[in-house]
């Protein structure tokens, strides 16, 4: 007689998604691989934002970083090399309810998938794209990547790479409709977490480049950065990341910044000698392709019938059109102009 029906009781405990729910299979990256830190920060983000695991999709290409979705407890799509972005766009186009993340390596994003990278920025669909940039091809074992510093010896550049490395930040900031660009380094978890959380909260296509250690093939690549934290330039702005006290003590190089200033962002992105971290650019007012193309009408059988009938009318020939044998032309298709 008294009390609530059991199904009406708030199930607060069950509805809270704890960290374990976002953990998928056991990660099999090398010990010391920077991907582990990115995974931990992302799982923490999902927990803190309470993303429904069944409504969250991690899309990746091929490479070490692309194993990422397997280690998440959400839906995942581990597709083809270079094709993560257009696949993720397809996932999102008619599923605004899904939270979409894309994890790409530097080969995935900056080499084989370059065309998609440029157009994904321009389309500005609601999703977070993380570029796990370790400056090397790891899974295929030590080939030069577009971001490998000039002069590095790799399996395909035994005498040192001859081209200057590309800068994914300046490239991204040069593309029409760019709406969010940030950079982090995976060995500063506090900063990394804040950056990807800001990316998640951004409306539009949020591009985050994460510098990432590859202990196997590039063991010394970031040594100087690790031993000289002053070379990491933290961008300071009112709406930027807020370092914890402990982190702030280590990373003392601070640069006043304005995340709304695209030219400043481009300048900062091109900084030589220091690595800018934090949010370089943010503009939530850029139109999003998924919203521009969202259906104005529901897809219903009635609507399909109406549209088809109208098209059939347009191509239609109706009984009564005159022939030389029968018909007078009296009935000739008044409807064709409808």
């Amino acid at each position: 007689m008294f009390g609530l029906k059991s199904e009406c009781v708030l199930k607060v405990d069950e509805e809270f998604h704890d960290l374990e729910e976002y953990q998928g299979r056991v990660a099999r990256w090398c010990p010391g691989c920077g991907d582990n830190g990115i995974l931990a920060a992302t799982q923490r983000l999902c927990r803190d934002e309470q993303l429904p695991p069944e409504k969250t999709v991690f899309v990746s290409g091929i490479g070490c970083a692309a194993r990422f979705p397997h280690y998440m407890g959400t839906y995942g799509f581990h597709g083809l090399h270079g094709r993560a972005l257009p696949t993720a766009q397809g996932v999102k186009i008619r599923r605004p309810d899904l939270k979409v993340f894309v994890n790409m390596g530097d080969g995935d994003c900056c080499s084989i998938g370059t065309a998609h990278w440029i157009h994904a920025v321009r389309m500005n669909m609601n999703m977070v794209a993380m570029l796990h940039d370790n400056n090397i091809y790891g899974l295929t074992k030590n080939q030069v990547s577009p971001t490998t510093p000039k002069g590095m010896t790799t399996a395909t550049t035994p005498h040192g790479s001859v081209l200057r490395e590309m800068n994914p930040l300046t490239a991204t900031l040069g593309i029409t409709n760019v709406s969010f660009v940030a950079q982090a380094v995976e060995w500063v978890p506090d900063l990394l977490y804040q950056v990807i959380r800001a990316a998640y909260q951004h409306k539009g296509f949020a591009f985050v480049r994460i510098l990432q250690r590859c202990p196997h093939f590039m063991p010394t690549l970031f040594d100087s950065l690790l031993s000289n934290p002053d070379d990491i330039m933290v961008l300071d702005s009112d709406d930027g990341v807020k370092l914890s006290e402990a982190t702030a003590k280590v990373y003392k190089t601070r640069e006043p910044h304005d995340t709304a200033d695209l030219n400043l962002a481009r300048e900062v992105a091109g900084t030589e000698g220091k690595v800018p971290v934090g949010i370089l650019y943010r503009n939530a007012s850029v139109p999003c392709y998924d919203e521009l193309r969202k259906p104005a009408r529901l897809h219903t059988p009635e609507q399909a019938r109406t549209v088809l009938d109208r098209a059939f009318d347009r191509f239609g020939i109706f009984p009564g059109a005159s022939g030389t044998r029968h018909g007078t032309g009296d009935e000739t298709d008044r409807r064709t102009d409808a």
């Binding site: 799509f77 009408r297 005159s322 029968h326």
Partner: protein
């Protein structure tokens, strides 16, 4: 009477039969070709003439004559642009043979068509004659030479002052000369001018009354000029229309089929001759909540479609051969990940960039075997324009039911040809039912392959308890990446079993002709009408020939083996390349066969011959007929 009909005298139908009855020839079919430089409106004229004829109840098949360039140089042989209309008193299933009447706005555009054997011996050529008075002497010479040549070859050339006549009615005869041409043809073929007037009113509706009126005068002017100056008048039985019909080309049919299939996403990249399907779809798709996404490249288009399908919105990507080649890796992913996908390949001439605007059936083996590794998929080929419409509905159903890739092979012949077919009556079941989104039962796996059929229940993002990571890597039924010796074997086996399970649902195709005999012609895709017409003609002369047309190329229905064995000889007729035994070094050990012939030989162990070419033209019934006669001699 129609609203466009006024009381003015020039709008009255002239009484043609009494004036010219004696010279009127009764015909049961004719082929008319209208050609000009690009941009002079020959295609519009052809479509209008065809529509008028279809509305009079004639069987009609049109073929677009399209130059590869958008604006090729004027008066060039390669620049010929226009339309060919086959007009019959009864139904028509293909483009037919050579043209009976050709109407051209300059002599150069005739030259290449004539050389290609497109004109019937003794055909009537109606030619704009203004070139004879051109200020440039080279043009005058070229014109006179060509006319002389055509006459010497036995064509009946009628030189017509088209521009001069048009100038009496409009200031700029370059616009509207094509309607004068429609007027001429309307007289020659006793067309119903009321219908022609309605078509003009419809065509120029957006341009306003003045333009409609001037085009109506040109229609009448052409008609009257022909009536008084041409001794050329045909009457063709035009039975009128008894059931509602639609007239469209194959690409429009694909677009409407996409709407009717219930798919909401089409991702594409421009490629000839597929693109016009997306043009038309773009016009109407948003009205049903759909989206045509023009991606940055063919690969992105396919990835986008796959992403949408994975997320529960089954998608289609429409392309042509070179585009399908680029999508190959993603086709493998669709098969491996068991993501439903409909891929339409509007085939054109290959290899490489090949013949962008012309027909070929050269992609069957590429579709079947192009993906590295074992990638079983379903391949179907519509045979008619009507079939293009229904095939997309079927393809989506198969794709989702069998969690697989379905490749639909049409071609440039279907894409640009126009044909009337019964107006489809909408059925709600066309739109596939929504996918079950209920929570996934505990213990269920993303690839719970049925032991007998390989089928498993698809799960979609949003379904609670169903989280898994789809991968193109070898995976277990749990979706786990695994490289053990049994894992890939099991996965491949189950994906292959799905094809067998689907095959069990197919009906044996019906033979056209007798159940046994001297010769069986096997075809697929757009050649059906031409093959059957050739078979009909040769059977009428007592030859013991039949034909079989395959809609499903992979898997193939049961019963085909038995059919093949009932004929003394079996051969395929296809529009793709095969070696000829006439070449000195070609023999049975090195001969390369036509696409379907390879497949039939391999599967059925029958010594199947083939006859094919890559002329880039629709297969002509007359050519097939001659081939049959020579083989059965």
């Amino acid at each position: 009477m129609s609203s466009s009909k006024s009381t003015e005298a020039r709008h009255q139908s002239p009484d043609v039969v009494s004036m010219h009855g004696a010279r009127t020839q009764r015909i049961s079919e004719h082929i008319v070709e209208i050609i000009s430089d690009s941009g002079e409106g020959a295609q519009t004229a052809g479509q209008m003439f065809a529509t008028v004829s279809a509305k009079m109840g004639n069987g009609v098949w049109t073929v677009e004559i399209i130059p590869a360039e958008i604006e090729p140089p004027a008066r060039s042989i390669e620049g010929a642009s226009g339309n060919r209309i086959r007009l019959c008193s009864g139904a028509v299933t293909n483009a037919g043979d050579a043209a009976d009447v050709i109407i051209a706005l300059n002599e150069q555009v005739l030259i290449g068509r004539e050389a290609a054997g497109e004109f019937k011996q003794g055909a009537h050529i109606l030619l704009e004659n203004k070139w004879a008075q051109n200020k440039i002497s080279n043009i005058v010479t070229a014109y006179n030479d060509a006319v002389g040549n055509f006459k010497a070859k036995g064509y009946r050339v009628h030189e017509i002052p088209m521009e001069e006549e048009c100038r009496k009615f409009v200031d700029n005869p370059l616009r509207g000369k094509n309607i004068f041409v429609v007027g001429i043809l309307s007289y020659i073929y006793s067309r119903d001018l009321d219908i022609a007037r309605q078509e003009i009113a419809k065509k120029f509706k957006k341009k306003g009354e003045a333009i409609i009126e001037s085009n109506l005068s040109l229609l009448d002017a052409g008609y009257h000029w022909a009536q008084h100056n041409l001794d050329l008048h045909f009457e063709i039985d035009s039975p009128g229309v008894t059931e509602p019909q639609v007239v469209m080309n194959g690409n429009a049919a694909l677009a409407l089929g996409t709407v009717a299939s219930g798919m909401e996403v089409c991702a594409m990249y421009p490629i000839t001759p597929a693109t016009s399907a997306s043009h038309f779809l773009s016009e109407i798709f948003e009205e049903v909540g759909g989206v045509v996404h023009q991606a940055e490249d063919e690969i992105a288009a396919c990835a986008f479609a796959i992403g949408a399908s994975y997320a529960g919105k089954c998608a289609v990507t429409i392309t042509s051969g070179p585009g399908m080649a680029l999508k190959t890796e993603l086709m493998g992913l669709s098969v491996m990940g068991e993501i439903p996908l409909v891929l339409v390949d509007v085939q054109r001439g290959g290899p490489s960039t090949g013949l962008p605007t012309k027909v070929e059936q050269g992609d069957l083996l590429a579709a079947m075997f192009g993906v590295p590794g074992d990638a079983p998929k379903i391949i179907m080929a519509p045979a008619t324009i009507e079939d293009c419409f229904y095939s997309i509905i079927t393809a989506r159903k198969i794709a989702e039911t069998f969690r697989t890739l379905v490749v639909v092979l049409t071609d440039a012949n279907l894409a640009t040809g126009q044909q009337a077919f019964p107006r489809p009556a909408f059925k709600e079941e066309w739109l596939a039912p929504p996918v079950d989104q209920s929570p996934v039962p505990a213990g269920a796996n993303p690839y719970d392959w049925d032991a007998a059929t390989g089928l498993s229940v698809r799960r979609l993002p949003g379904q609670a308890n169903g989280m898994f990571t789809l991968t193109g890597l070898a995976h277990t039924r749990q979706g786990t990446v695994a490289y053990g010796p049994g894992v890939n074997q099991e996965g491949c086996r189950h994906r292959s079993l799905k094809l067998a399970a689907f095959q069990k649902t197919l009906k044996t195709p019906e033979v056209f002709g007798d159940p046994e005999g001297d010769l069986l012609i096997v075809g697929w895709g757009s050649t059906r009408g031409a093959i059957e017409e050739a078979v009909m003609r040769t059977r009428a002369d007592g030859l013991d020939v039949s034909s079989l047309h395959l809609k499903f190329l992979q898997p193939m229905a049961s019963g085909i083996r038995e059919i093949l064995h009932r004929y003394k000889r079996v051969m395929t007729v296809e529009i793709n390349y095969s070696d000829s035994l006439d070449d000195e070094i070609i023999d049975d050990d090195n001969r390369r066969y036509a696409n379907l012939a390879w497949l039939l030989r391999a599967r059925y162990l029958v010594d199947i011959d083939c006859w094919s070419n890559v002329h880039g033209q629709p297969m002509k019934p007359g050519a097939i007929e001659s081939m049959i006669r020579s083989r059965l001699q």
